[in-house]
């Protein structure tokens, strides 16, 4: 809920949910795909807000 006003955060939470629960991808694959891209998105958005 603290992230509900961050569209990028909601997108990455939704992607993690779908990839693990419905696409049944292995956790390692989900983390390798989503963790770096979510961190990069957070860095880009925080730079843009500054």
């Amino acid at each position: 809920l603290p992230h509900r006003r961050r569209p990028a955060a909601l997108t990455f939470a939704g992607l993690a949910l779908v990839m693990l629960a419905f696409s049944k991808l292995p956790l390692l694959a989900v983390l390798f795909i989503l963790a770096p891209s979510s961190i990069a998105a957070a860095a880009l958005f925080s730079a843009a807000y500054r």
Partner: protein
């Protein structure tokens, strides 16, 4: 009796997933279930959810206890000890080794980005874990209704989950599920 390779495989898998359990061990439950139920067939979905429920109902470090019970099911008492150790030892070692570095840069911009980036992924993994466990436990709509009701009640109210556990236990005891 299963071969020792089963124990080695279980310990290696638990050590691996516990090392990447961002947000706590519940985020890796779908992977553990897939490994012990679907890949190796060491237990059924019912066994896995029973162990999950038992571990959740007991106070204390419930995921360590749960993996101990999973290990017990796979390889007896030695499996229980190995399963519990493989669950807490690798992340403890990693946190111990990484804490100084992490703490030294706690105000760094990159660390704020890492935290802000990992948090939503972790939230999604926890929700996915809930869905996977509900699917494994709920064999039909009578069992699905309490799951959905519990989720809605906890989202909308501040009710202590113990009441929901008690209500679920009562429904199960009365044979309604």
């Amino acid at each position: 009796v299963r071969p020792p390779s089963a124990l080695v495989a279980l310990v290696a898998q638990l050590a691996l997933v516990s090392s990447i359990s961002f947000g706590g061990f519940p985020t890796v439950l779908p992977d553990v279930r897939s490994f012990v139920v679907l890949t190796h067939g060491w237990m059924t979905d019912e066994d896995f959810t029973n162990i999950f429920t038992m571990a959740q109902a007991i106070p204390g470090p419930n995921m360590i206890l749960m993996m101990g019970l999973v290990g017990w099911k796979v390889w007896g008492f030695s499996g229980a000890l190995a399963g519990a150790t493989a669950t807490f030892a690798p992340p403890c070692a990693i946190y111990y080794a990484a804490f100084r570095l992490w703490n030294r840069f706690r105000d760094a911009r990159w660390q704020r980005s890492v935290r802000a980036g990992l948090a939503p992924v972790t939230v999604g993994l926890i929700m996915a874990s809930g869905i996977v466990m509900a699917r494994a436990a709920d064999t039909g709509w009578p069992a699905g209704v309490p799951t959905i009701a519990a989720a809605v009640v906890l989202l909308l109210t501040r009710l202590n989950p113990i009441w929901l556990l008690a209500a679920g236990g009562l429904l199960g005891g009365l044979g309604a599920l």
